[in-house]
Symmetry: C2
Amino acid sequence: MARTGRRAGSSGAREQILSAARQQFASQGYDGASIRAIAAAANVDPALVRHYFGNKEHLFIQVVGLPADPADFVPQLLAQGVDGLGVRLASLFLEVWDRPDGPFVALLRSVTTNDQAATMLREFVTRVVLEPLAATLELDQPQLRAALAGSQLVGLAMMRYVVKVEPIGSMPRDELARFVGPVLQDYFSRPIDS
Amino acid sequence: MARTGRRAGSSGAREQILSAARQQFASQGYDGASIRAIAAAANVDPALVRHYFGNKEHLFIQVVGLPADPADFVPQLLAQGVDGLGVRLASLFLEVWDRPDGPFVALLRSVTTNDQAATMLREFVTRVVLEPLAATLELDQPQLRAALAGSQLVGLAMMRYVVKVEPIGSMPRDELARFVGPVLQDYFSRPIDS
């Protein structure tokens, strides 16, 4: 699977594709967006999109500015076992989001309607990280667990970056991860009997 | 303290005030909005706003469609003790938000920018309910606890009403409250040592 998205010296077409993808993901959500529609909006051939970014998932990862492929970091998160997973998960998100001029929060703030922002945020949190994680853990009700953990992370992002509520807005990342981590841990480990 | 906001037969001025208040709270947040500015936007005298709604807090409660004064339901939430408080709290929010054509979710969806929607939601959740609750419980770090619990509730509202993620989007209210309740309980009871 070719991952040439970070290759230096790629042409202006690459930026055009990323810009079109940003718009498509924001307006259509992950499922609604397609390589074909993104290529059309960027005025390039779909083959060029695949050449630069491989597939839709990798294109999405580039758009949201994830530092690594989830296929790589889900095993990393789990390398130390399930203990402390919640704190590591919260730290991972906060680290990606906290980056100055990180593309994700800028993206979140720039989409024009609330629905689009919320959709992007949700897609990123649940689809890219939580669902693969729940699948790897082979938990019962993985979709429910991912959605609940996602609701906490989406709310955290809203409070820290959009509404900037204190003390969440300016709290050091590690401290915040220690508060929120146990909640994520709980959603990924508690028995669900219903 | 006069609370005549629900009085039948009040004039069109009342609706004008509510509409102006909705806009002011959405664009300025709770702190930034003032009776004076709302009255000016509604083209009425500030005394008329006070006549209909008493004060800014009660006006806000009318705008977000809260069924009762927090001064009334905070003691109700606590009447059965701290045990099960989280589930009762989650149920309360979900009940208010789930109402068909409830003003709050309509308001949330109608504000034009993400920031405004997020601000309204946050103000409602933290200021109207969680901060009074934390104050009544005489907990340490009430603002932090309210902000953390608020982040979970804000995220839940985004997932259930805005992005409509399954199974959260269509899950029965009581079941959802049972999942999220323990998290709120935790934020309102765990020791915070930092």
